[in-house]
Every structure is written in C-alpha cells, then in structure tokens.
Symmetry: C2
Subunit: 250 residues, 2 copies
Amino acid sequence: MSIELTALKGIPVVEPGDDLAQLILEALKESQLLPRDGDVLVLCQKIVSKAEGRSIAIDEIEPGPLALQVAADAEDKDPRMAELVLRNATRVVMMKRGHLIVETGPGWVCANAGIDASNTGDPNRVLLLPEDPDATAASLAAAIGKAHDCRVAVIVSDTWGRPWRVGLVDFAIGVAGMNPLRDLRGEQDMDGRELHHTVNADADALAAAAGLLMQKGSGTPAVLIRGYLSAPGEGSGNDLIRDLETDLFR
Amino acid sequence: MSIELTALKGIPVVEPGDDLAQLILEALKESQLLPRDGDVLVLCQKIVSKAEGRSIAIDEIEPGPLALQVAADAEDKDPRMAELVLRNATRVVMMKRGHLIVETGPGWVCANAGIDASNTGDPNRVLLLPEDPDATAASLAAAIGKAHDCRVAVIVSDTWGRPWRVGLVDFAIGVAGMNPLRDLRGEQDMDGRELHHTVNADADALAAAAGLLMQKGSGTPAVLIRGYLSAPGEGSGNDLIRDLETDLFR
C-alpha cells in the first residue's frame, strides 16, 4: 500500500473572478498528471478566497470597544484586525492575552476567524475564509471529472493551530467526492475485540499531508494525492465539525 | 515536488522484549525498500509499547472514588480503566460526562492518557504509552542508519481526538533525526511581507499522513515517507508540546 502526493506546478497568482477549475486543469496538464478515479485534490483556501474576491481593506475598519480591549491585551495586534475577527465570529471560544479563538463559518473553530494577512497581494488587505468551500470542492470535483472522465475527491484546506500543541497543521474545511471520516466502529481489531470509538478524520489527515508540500511562500497551493481513496464517497467538510452538544471544549 | 508513503510489509505481532530495530530492518527488506538519506519512518506507538512490555492487566486495578465518579458520569466506562487513566495523569485538563482528557508523559494531552484497549493481544490487558518514545525513535534511527549507511528520521505516533472536531488523527509523540517544526518566521511571503506566526508542526503532519496507511486492525504499524526531508535535523517530540505558560487551553 502506498500513497503519493504531488504538488501541482504552474498555478499563477490567483485574482478575483479567476476560474479555479480552468487554472487547476491547466496546472494538472503542466504537471503531467492525468487525473483518475480515486485521486484526491487538496486546495489551499487562500486561492479559493482570492478567486471569490474575499479580500477586505483593513484600513476601512473602525474598531469597537471589544476589539480595542483585545488589542490592548495583545503584544502586537491591530485593533482593526480584532474588529474584523469579531465581525466574522459566531462565538468567542477563547479570548485571552489578545488571542481570539472563535467559531466562524459553519462551525470552524480557529484563531482570528481564519482571516489571513499573508500572500494577499496587498499588505493593506486581508482575506476572509471562502464563503462555501464544500460547494467549491464539489464544483471542482465535477469539472475535473467531466474533463477527464473520472471521479475524484476535492478538499479545501486551511492552516490552524491546535490547543496544547506547538505549530500549525492543515485541516479540511471543504470536502466533496469522499467521506471525510473513516468509521471503523463495529469492525474488529486483530484480537477480535470490537472497536467502539474509532472514527478517523481522514480528510483532516489528507489536508495535513498536503500541507507538507504547500508551505506559505512556496507558490504551491494545490496537491494531488493518489493511492488513498479506493472508492468515491459522499460527505462534506461540515461532517468534521463537532456538535456543540458533544464538544468538551466549547 | 512529491512525497511518497509506503506501508511496511511483514511486521509480525510484536511481543514484549522483541527487538524493534531488527523487525523494522527485516520489514524494510521484505517491502523492498532500501532506506536512504532523508527518509522518515513513522511507527505506531502500539508496537513500541508492546515491545517495552507496557501492558497492564485491568482486573488487578482497584478503582478509587474519583474513578468511580468518572465511570458513573459515563455511558459506558470501566471504573478500573478510569482509575488507570488517573494514575497515569499528571494533570486533568477536562473531566466531563465520563470523559477524561489528561496530561500524561512529558506533557501530551489526550483522552484516557493514551491508554489503549484494542489490539493488545489480550482483551483483559491494556497498553500504556511508551516510556520514552524519543529515545526509541533515536535508537531506531541509529540502527537503520548503521545498517544502510544513511541518515533517516523516525517518528513514533499516537492516534488522538481533537477539540471542536470529529474523528481521530495521528500525532507525533517521539521524534529523532529531524526538526519536528518548520519555522518560517522571518521569511517573506510572496508579497514581501514578513511571516510572523508561521511555525508548521511538520512531524504531526507526517504522523497524520502515515496514519492514513495504518488504520487499526490493518496490521501495518510502520510507514516509510520519502521526499519530505531535504536534510537531517535535530529535535524531539517534546518540541511539539506547548508550554503551560503559552497554552490558552490548559
């Protein structure tokens, strides 16, 4: 059993309104990768946000009292950025020492609502997370499938920190063409003991793996993963979001 | 740029006292993989714990009042297991509805102190996490390096849940031969803007990737990753553990 990850070559700096499917199809060609059944394409959220025109001019933001307090608690935080984070949050999970860990979108929990200040194309502009990465993933999977007569999965990823751990890894925020979870409950281990709690978040693991090839500044926002998926499946990035009711940390 | 992951074939069920280095060298041979500079071997903690004889008979454990309360709060938890978790914890991070998220070992935060009831070889025995996975990783890296005249990295992984997310992924608990973090701070993004906060937890991402090929019950506890590491480095699994002082969630 083996899995191969290849960074796509030839994706240009993405501009608002760009046709991502067209860019990806051209990059696959330039990379001499012919997509086939079971391939998983992982795409960094940044190019999705850019194509959607999700960029915001930070200097037009007027910080309110809560944002001013967050910035005052921080070593180095722009109160306008704090304001923008709060406006894009549906729940504050942790506010401490100027850090804002919030719930945003359909229930993603991450620092600063995933708002991104690097590689935006303009130092005064920041990027919001994509509007609907599941829909983007589905439309890209359909476009690749149509062009190459195959069924592929697509994951849109973002890079987040984790409680208790140092450093960032990539997570899946949009998923199409596969089940993001591998549910082993009810199967047996090698001793014949039933597995009760084993649901693997494979789409997050695939995003993390792809992230190894798409470091910031590298200009490689898309990675093709071959050998993981044995059959297409159904699912959405929201399947990876824990319900408030079962969450111990929200 | 591409990365290839291959599950090693031919690793038998590991018994206490087994020579892991010898088993891995034989499995590499059987898998027709000739290790070379920059390879990263990821090893599931379970076979390390088994080789170290870290198995405990659960029926010898006498639960105390705290363990009895944890089990009473749970839908389905053995109070003896709760007792064992508490005895192996250095801090209780969350105790709610019968769940125990604790700090264990050098500062790993995970459910049930990482104590594992599946694939132990005996339904009445559970496995503690390895004593010193950094040392195990270092000795395996040295043994492979000596046998094949090359410098490889080794990661020992464990499978954990995450706050806010559904499903489990693998994390790195022992690391040798590489820096587990990729520190991009001070480098510039594509707009020439300095990256302030970007430290990537690459060893966790490598562990997560390898986990895709080592699902429970598959009998593939080791994965070789080729193409990631350009040069050997230094570091330990503890580099991935966040200090209590900077942790927002402990």
